[in-house]
């Protein structure tokens, strides 16, 4: 299995999507952290900024995972790999685990950058334990969402379509569901992410981070099973 993980890591590194994606995500986190204060003199509270960076990290991780797996199916890489490793579920496991790792790296980078920009502005007014637990929550959320994105890519099998699914889900459908029923939303990836980064709401119940993590892990497991069923049954073009 280690040889497959190594091969998959090499594939991700040479696809030339991951690095630009992480750099774009980092620039976005820094800009959204700095711009309001530097350009308009507005100061948002640290928790809101850290939550915002978690959202960006989670969507970036999902996008990277989805683009990687759907792209590999589209451009013939999966077919080439299956000729040297025909056990499809092993190959899928390697893909999902590498996306999990890449998501963790994206989450950790986003949390560190958000903390750094807030510290540079002298606005990091949260206790150290809270900063660390939000950072860990961001890392866990991004890693699991990286895996979910990779599973979406396997099911959708088309990179542009997979990217549309991720963006529409994250920025349109989930927010819409949250306005309809927050009690449903907390069981979706976005709601679980809010639990993990300790979102505070005066109006709605937000489960504790551990429960949010378990909900997201459950969603990721279901997505992995769906991807496994899809890949094991389909013919590869």
């Amino acid at each position: 299995m280690t040889h497959l993980l190594s091969a998959q890591a090499r594939i991700v590194a040479t696809t030339r999507i991951a690095l630009p994606g992480v750099v774009a995500m980092a620039a976005f986190v820094v800009l959204t952290g700095l711009a309001p204060a530097v350009l308009f003199g507005q100061h948002r509270d640290s928790h809101t900024v850290l939550e915002g960076s978690a959202t960006v990290a989670v969507v970036a991780a999902m996008l990277l995972g989805a683009l990687q797996t759907a792209g590999d199916l589209q451009n013939g890489m999966i077919r080439a790999l299956l000729l040297v490793e025909p056990r499809r579920l092993r190959l899928l496991a390697a893909q999902l685990l590498v996306s999990l790792g890449l998501g963790a790296a994206v989450g950790a980078a986003a949390a560190l950058l958000a903390d750094s920009t807030q510290a540079a502005l002298g606005r990091l007014d949260l206790p150290a334990a809270t900063v660390i637990s939000i950072g860990l929550g961001t890392t866990v959320a991004a890693s699991l969402c990286g895996l979910i994105g990779a599973a979406v890519g396997v099911v959708v099998r088309n990179a542009p379509l997979a990217a549309c699914v991720v963006v529409l889900w994250s920025y349109a459908l989930e927010p819409f569901i949250s306005t309809l029923s927050y009690n449903v939303y907390i069981y979706l990836p976005g709601g679980a992410r809010e639990s993990l980064v300790q979102h505070v709401s005066a109006h709605s119940y937000i489960p504790p981070p551990l429960i949010g993590g378990l909900i997201l892990a459950g969603i990721a497991s279901a997505a992995a099973v769906l991807a496994a069923l899809t890949l094991s049954r389909q013919d590869i073009d």
Binding site: H3, L4, S6, A7, Q8, R10, I11, T14, T15, R16, I17, G71, D72, Q74, N75, G76, M77, R79, A80, L81, L82, L83, V84, E85, P86, R87, R233, D235, I236, D237
Partner: protein, 240 residues
């Protein structure tokens, strides 16, 4: 005679078409097998089922007595060259092979050896695969098939995009592989380029194996290309 590939009562149905219909055949070591037939005869589907890309509806395929999916080191048993057009375009040829070598647990030096074998120069192998001509893509796909130094070599339309030197090189390689004891299966609808190299001819038509014969059973002292042309247009032909 050492049978390396066994196909038994293989049927592959898609929702609207039966691509393979009860096909049985054996491939033997040390022979070049040419799989011919008109467009849509089922040649590519047979190759795809052989290497596990498509699942059979009925029947079985075994390589060295085992299904492809249960081979421990498949790259050292089968090397397949399918559709060269689709390659990851952002990765260089060398990186592409390095990824495959890593997945196949092969030493990195095999990448350079495979590139040498197919005559892909170092500076070309370092370029992104998206910039390659069809002939160069074909050579890269061939290099991928040869990475594990396999015993069974499966090639789908391998002359597509190759220039005259490339075709001449391929003809020499086919003979050399077979002479070294390897099993070679080549699917092609072109009768002119490779027919002279083959030992056995398999004719597919509308998903059925309509002829399986040694070369000397077909040509009867005539030109093999003419014999194949007549075979395809009469015995396995659609005009009947």
């Amino acid at each position: 005679m050492n049978t390396t590939v066994q196909v038994r009562r293989l049927t592959k149905r898609y929702p609207t078409v039966t691509a393979l219909d009860d096909v049985s055949l054996d491939l033997t070591a040390g022979r070049v097998h040419l799989l011919v037939g008109p467009n849509g005869a089922g040649k590519t589907t047979l190759l795809r089922v052989l290497v596990g890309m498509a699942r059979p509806t009925e029947g079985s395929v075994s390589l060295h007595g085992r299904p492809f999916s249960s081979l421990e080191r498949p790259a050292q048993v089968v090397g397949a060259c399918l559709d060269p057009i689709r390659l990851p375009s952002l990765r260089s040829g060398r990186q592409h092979l390095a990824c495959l070598a890593s997945a196949a647990r092969l030493p990195r030096q095999r990448v350079e050896e495979a590139l040498d074998m197919v005559g892909l120069p170092a500076h070309v192998a370092s370029r992104r695969a998206g910039t390659y001509s069809l002939g160069t893509r074909q050579r890269l796909t061939l290099a991928a098939a040869l990475l594990g130094d396999p015993q069974v070599i499966v090639l789908d339309e391998p002359t597509t995009g190759l220039d005259v030197h490339g075709v001449a090189w391929l003809r020499r390689r086919l003979r050399a592989w077979a002479d070294a004891g390897r099993t070679v299966l080549v699917a092609s609808h072109s009768l002119t380029e490779l027919a002279a190299m083959v030992d056995r001819v398999l004719v597919l038509d509308r998903g059925r194996l309509v002829r399986d014969a040694a070369r000397d059973e077909l040509d009867h002292g005539r030109d093999i290309q003419t014999a194949l042309f007549e075979l395809l247009t009469t015995n396995g032909g659609r005009g009947q």
